[in-house]
Symmetry: C2
């Protein structure tokens, strides 16, 4: 069967400016048409929109805004990993032969209805994501001796990486001390351990192997996909030092692509909170369980950008429906060698990890040049 | 490549009872597990939910409710044809090899936010769908001499067909006179020309050819798919006696399945309003342009159930996100020979037509036994 690749990408700067969802989406699509030789509106056969916004018929509205009349158009929602769900749907449409190309567009606003887990009565009053991150933090501290300083290293590293990302929400460095002293939201989660809700949009053009060279000489291929929706509430994740759906997704993505963690040159991990990156480094096989915090410190000290080179969710901001797509754009640029100041030399294999609601569901993608 | 088929289906009665979206979805899934030999929760690899409701993370919530931990889980929204968009996504996931099985679940409530085209400022105060149906009606009357009585025949036929559908919202016959005398909502759209918003849910289990016989001896195959999203507003449909996106979708679905309109034994057409069925009969090639109304009269007089045997949207009710899936269930049952009193003899080839917002987008599916 035809391979599926990424041909072009577009981003808006992540801000708190008030712009409508459909305008944000249009702004993310604009650079794709500007930068892509030979791409015409009639070439786009599917438009899939990713958002938690309550707007209806958004894929059609944005298509009309962009002058596109696709065959396939609809919105996809799965909280914070809506973006990669959308990319995987586009992959499926192309791989199945129903479309030759697909435009995937994610956007979110600061006041997204997906930010609070209103639907989960089993969480009582603790519906804000800071509470599940606090539970993961406590568990990891108890089992592996992780410290508040370890968490601060994640935030400091990702904020520093974001300084070279012109689309990032944050535009200044934060020292370890500043992070340690930022406001306590729970006993072990500080303000600067959190990703920031913001406005932003991201877009990706995918195409099948037999047409992609019309649009680019350097396509990036999606070679591995792993997904798992374990539950909606906390009912299925027995061990809070690990994210079971992410372990499962990574294992399947590695298997599909015939790659191992040691093959990965660059990775975007879903650092909704500092503790997430530490656990994910372990769960995705980059280090052994309990060694995530030391590895982050090492990356920080070495100025190594391998993990979350664009600044992660913590440094770049987290417009929910745009995040998974923005993560994928970073890996695309790294593998194409177009990541500018953020470029990691000789990146051939990249990984995207995107998850929702305490990792009750996850997506892992493997990309290759 | 593997064929994709429908293995099992489930429905709730369409009512105005107040039941939550997730409960409705669970109730539609229940009969699938009850009726399907060998089906276990672990067999379900994808759960896609179809709705216009604003609930987030619904595919995960319903999965947990049903004891399923799929790989793929998300919601799909495209107003009134969310249901068939969801089915086509499931098809793509299976055809692409990402899943062996997929459960597609649609549900809606009477007060769905998808009922009014709030987003379309180009319609001024005329945002309710009755206004676009009135424009189509006027245009068809002018060009083809269609009468108010012709419209009443559509409603009378579909209400009569619905009498043999235990899941239909309406449970009584309506005479031509009653329909003619029902309240005028516009100069040419009466209350009984309209489909009724209601609560309801529908679910379908799809599976790939190599595993489907584990679940059923009589799978129904999806052999043709056509989709088109022409626009969001009225900007692209030049001729209001025709639905351009439906013409395009039908043409592609016939081509993919290598079938012609004369091959179709039974069809579900999206009769959101009486005029829709007349135009769709013409646009999908069952009769020539201008002959739709006479054909409906003929079906009525002959008690022929070929078009909208379950009673269409007008007789069955229209819970938006559930409709396209419920239409597909009817064709599944007709082709399996399990449609009871509604059964059309020797049905081998069936068609589903589902559309959104004045046919600005459409889906056509061809199913075969």
């Amino acid at each position: 069967m035809n391979k599926v690749g990424i041909a072009a990408t577009g981003l808006t700067k992540f801000t708190k400016d008030d712009t409508s969802i459909e305008s944000l989406m249009g702004l993310a699509v604009k650079p794709i048409f500007e930068k892509t030789n030979n791409l015409e509106q009639k070439d786009v056969e599917a438009v899939l929109t990713s958002t938690n916004a309550n707007d209806k018929y958004l894929a059609n509205i944005v298509s009309e805004l962009c002058g596109i009349s696709p065959k396939i158009a609809h919105s996809v929602e799965s909280l914070c990993n809506s973006g990669t769900n959308c990319i995987v749907s586009a992959y499926a449409y192309i791989k199945s032969g129903l479309a030759k190309t697909a435009l995937v567009i994610g956007a979110e606003k600061t006041d997204s209805p997906g930010l609070i887990l209103e639907w989960d009565k089993s969480r009582g009053q603790y519906k804000h994501p800071i509470y599940w991150s606090s539970l993961f933090t406590s568990a990891h501290m108890r089992k592996y001796g992780t410290t508040l300083e370890d968490l601060a290293y994640v935030s400091a590293k990702n904020h520093r990486n974001a300084l070279d990302n012109p689309y990032a929400y944050f535009e200044r460095n934060f020292s370890l001390d500043e992070i340690m002293e930022s406001k306590n939201l729970t006993e072990n989660v500080r303000l600067l351990d959190c990703s920031m809700p913001c406005n932003g949009a991201s877009a990706i053009l995918l195409a099948s192997e037999d047409v992609i060279t019309k649009f680019t000489d350097t396509p990036i291929w999606i070679t591995g996909i792993g997904q798992k929706a374990l539950s909606a509430g906390f009912t299925k994740n027995d061990d809070l030092t690990s994210m079971a759906s992410s372990v499962y997704s990574a294992s399947n993505a590695y298997k599909m692509s015939d790659r191992r963690p040691t093959d990965v040159d660059v990775a975007e991990l879903h650092d909704a909170f500092s503790i997430c990156e530490i656990i994910e480094l372990e769960d995705l096989g980059f280090v052994k369980k309990g060694e995530g915090a030391d590895y982050v410190k090492q990356l920080f000290d070495m100025h190594d950008r391998k993990i979350n080179p664009r600044g992660g969710l913590i440094g770049t901001g987290h417009p929910l429906g745009a995040t998974g797509i923005a993560q994928t754009i970073e890996i695309f640029q790294q593998l194409q060698g177009t990541a500018g100041k953020r470029q990691i030399n000789n990146s051939k294999v990249g990984l995207v990890h995107n998850m929702s609601a305490a990792s009750t569901s996850s997506t892992v993608l493997i990309l290759e040049s």
